[in-house]
């Protein structure tokens, strides 16, 4: 089990594919996602990483949280979430997780707080059918109808679906597919809709109902690893360039030597001819 990520829901758009298909995608953004704390078996009785996302003003952060963040050596965060992980997948405090954490085509579960609908009737809240438009129905066209039996049992059963508060609950949508990631901008594009309004925080985890993908990065895709890879690539490029230059130099030298040799040979042959002519 590896860590999930906290992301901000930016909004929805569509992608046109080469074969003429268009797919609806939700754009999620990782905003400065860093590990704030670790929970380990020895100290806490379970293994988890605490991630923080976004930027909060220091003066609006409570003294206690300011201490917590300063201990981790990170800027104050807007949103803090814990993710349970296997002990070998614990991440160092202060590490930044990037969007390459998920690869294209991977299935994920996304959780968020749904848009609040307020006090909603049975038709909207539970897809009730309502009452008829005519045939003597008056005023109660959108009512829920009967809520139970008669004197026996003489009560409304617990859990009866009725009107009430709808939305603003934590919902997980399972098995959504990652369409595209962009680690430079921290963007993850997910096929289909994700719970919550634009600008809300959602958490993304590997799908629990799919086998764990083999090419997932363990313990997480980190900014430090990316920088390291970039540095290595740059070094390699520099080394390659130097090698190419050396090779070019060697070739030029060889050519010059060959030319000199050819010149010498030509001179020798002309001299020989001259000698022959003299004789």
């Amino acid at each position: 089990m590896r860590s999930g990520v906290i992301a901000k829901k930016i909004g929805m758009t569509r992608l046109f594919l080469e074969d003429g298909k268009q797919i609806p995608v939700t754009v999620l953004q990782l905003d400065n996602l860093q590990v704030v704390a670790q929970r380990t078996d020895e100290t806490n009785g379970y293994n988890a990483v605490q991630l923080g996302c976004g930027a909060a003003k220091a003066k609006r952060t409570s003294q206690a949280m300011r201490g917590h963040f300063s201990k981790a050596g990170v800027e104050p965060k807007r949103k803090v979430v814990e993710f349970r992980v296997a002990p070998e997948n614990l991440i160092e405090v202060g590490e930044e997780i990037i969007a390459d954490h998920y690869f294209e085509g991977q299935f994920v579960d996304v959780s968020g707080i749904t848009i609040g609908k307020g006090f909603a009737g049975g038709m909207k809240r539970h897809n009730f059918g309502g009452l008829r438009a005519t045939h003597g129905v008056s005023i109660s066209h959108r009512s829920h109808g009967s809520t139970g039996q008669c004197q026996n049992p003489g009560k409304v059963f617990k859990g009866k679906k009725m009107a009430g508060h709808m939305g603003s609950v934590r919902v997980t949508t399972q098995n959504l597919q990652v369409v595209k990631t962009d680690s430079d901008r921290g963007v993850i594009m997910i096929k289909g809709a994700v719970p919550g309004p634009k600008g809300s925080w959602v958490t993304v985890k590997d799908a629990v109902k799919k086998p764990f993908p083999e090419n997932a990065i363990l313990p997480a895709a980190l900014m430090s690893a990316k920088k390291e890879a970039q540095r290595a690539a740059e070094e390699a490029a520099v080394a390659a360039a130097a090698e190419a230059e050396a090779e070019a130099k060697r070739l030029a030298e060889e050519q010059a030597a060959a030319e000199a040799a050819a010149l010498a040979e030509a001179e020798a042959s002309t001299e020989a001819e001259k000698k022959e002519g003299e004789e």
């Binding site: 930016i10 909004g11 758009t13 046109f16 268009q22 754009v27 953004q29 901008r185």
Partner: protein, 126 residues
């Protein structure tokens, strides 16, 4: 520019479509790629554009109406669809509204649209 607008602008740029200036009332010809088995060909669809929706953005679409074998046919195309080979303006119509839905209830002579005689191409966006 917010991130969504940025992503959409980038996608429009990478798709690299040339979309002519047209509006509702214009007669246009659309080359639509049709896949039959393994080979694809381009099918022409010509008719009056009766509505444009969602502007020039990635979600933009337009409706083309034509009379096919005496039956009115309407097709909605996404403006940036990769299935569209080309869009051509055949004739520019002089109309006074943005949606030409009234054409649905008309046939023949009354469903004609006058042609624009003084069409001016809009200035290219800076």
């Amino acid at each position: 520019m917010d991130l969504i607008a940025q992503l959409e602008a980038e996608q429009i740029a990478t798709l690299g479509k040339t979309i002519p200036d047209f509006k509702a009332g214009d007669t246009i010809r659309v080359g639509f790629k049709v896949t039959e088995g393994t080979r694809t060909r381009v099918q022409n669809y010509e008719g009056v554009c009766i509505s444009r929706k969602n502007g020039k953005g990635i979600a933009g679409s337009f409706t083309v109406r034509k009379i096919s074998f005496g039956e009115g046919v309407e097709r909605v195309f996404p403006l940036h669809s990769t299935n569209i080979d080309y869009i051509e303006v055949v004739r520019r119509g002089r109309v006074r509204r943005a949606k030409m839905y009234y054409l649905r209830s008309r046939r023949g002579k009354s469903a004609r649209i006058a042609e624009v005689s003084n069409y001016k191409a809009p200035k290219a966006e800076a």
